[in-house]
């Protein structure tokens, strides 16, 4: 635990070698320590996500949040960038994987790195966290209420992304899943399906679903915030990362 930290914008090599902006938060001191890639939600590279990134530095990690909309809107305000990226169809899965790979490599190249890097994402980033952990060599992954990891979209639903069921046998890192039982996407049945699939494939995972919470219960600036679920969730994340990224 370190409450003295530094945070700044950086540039790293993302998918295809593109120079991508990120927000890097680091605790004071020389390490060795693990790294965390923070995947922002669909509303973008916003203040709340940067606060989350800094919190991982307080927990003792170098944390890097890639600006997934940097290509579409370099230098734009986060909400304008999110609007531009949305109009352009969102972030392609393969580009996301490349950007997380680049962020993980950037974290591992830091002088204080112990070589271990985890990934965490919220909302759409929860799905993307699982996607990254199915595609890259990461040491831990956290999915916070990501929809469409499993589950069939409603009929006629013009979804721009598919589920990840075919990729789940390739999950390479232990997965912590945090969900709200009042959420519909993912609903409890999709969470149970994901649990069963991972159990069937022998992939280590740990899921917690909160009865009094719905979607986005970690979001302190939204009506969906549920303090008890969020507090417990943060404790579970801290313990999970200490187990898999510490040392």
């Amino acid at each position: 635990m370190s409450e003295t930290l530094s945070a700044r914008y950086v540039t790293f090599a993302g998918d295809g070698g593109d120079q991508v902006q990120g927000y890097l938060a680091s605790p004071e001191g020389g390490g060795p320590r693990g790294g965390v890639v923070v995947i922002h939600h669909l509303p973008g590279f916003d203040r709340a996500t940067k606060e989350i990134t800094r919190r991982f530095a307080v927990l003792g990690y170098d944390a890097l949040c890639p600006n997934l909309y940097w290509r579409e809107a370099p230098g734009a305000a986060p909400d304008d960038a999110a609007a531009t990226a949305r109009a352009a169809g969102g972030v392609p899965d393969e580009r996301l994987v490349g950007d997380v790979a680049g962020a993980a490599a950037a974290l591992r190249s830091l002088p204080a790195s112990n070589g271990r890097v985890g990934v965490i994402g919220y909302c759409s980033g929860g799905r993307q966290s699982v996607l990254a952990a199915c595609s890259l060599d990461l040491d831990a992954a956290v999915d916070c209420y990501g929809a469409f990891v499993t589950g069939t979209p409603p009929e006629g639903f013009p979804l721009q992304v598919g589920d990840l069921v075919d990729r789940l046998p390739g999950l390479r890192a232990p997965l912590l899943g945090l969900f709200g039982r009042q959420d519909s996407y993912p609903g409890p049945e999709q969470v149970a399906e994901l649990d069963a699939i991972l159990t069937g494939h022998g992939r280590p995972h740990e899921f917690h679903s909160y009865h009094d919470a719905g979607h986005a219960f970690f979001a302190v600036d939204r009506p969906s915030y549920r303090v008890a679920a969020a507090n417990d969730g943060w404790e579970r994340i801290a313990s999970f990362f200490a187990t898999h990224l510490g040392g």
Partner: protein, 88 residues
């Protein structure tokens, strides 16, 4: 959830946007998803934008679903009330 749903439409008109300046809008983006500012889990979000002028060239609104339906009805009522010769 993040619905990922986006509907786009071409526009021809003007909007009053950043800095209080009027600008020509060419595109509308409509989604039902998490808002940036409105106190609701999901809202009907509309961007009236001029993408050629950069990401900041837009007017954004985030409406509850009920409000969005009322807006649609109001637009349709206004158009229906206008003389046909004026609206083409």
């Amino acid at each position: 959830m993040c619905t990922y749903l986006t509907v786009r439409s071409a526009l021809d008109g003007s909007a009053k946007g950043p800095g209080g300046a009027w600008f020509h809008v060419t595109d509308a983006t409509v989604s039902f998803d998490h808002p940036v500012h409105a106190m609701a889990e999901h809202t009907l979000n509309i961007d009236l934008a001029a993408p050629a002028d950069g990401p900041a060239a837009r007017v954004a609104v985030e409406l509850t679903a009920a409000s969005a339906r009322e807006l649609v009805a109001a637009i349709q009522a206004a158009l229906a009330a206008a003389p046909a010769a004026l609206i083409g």
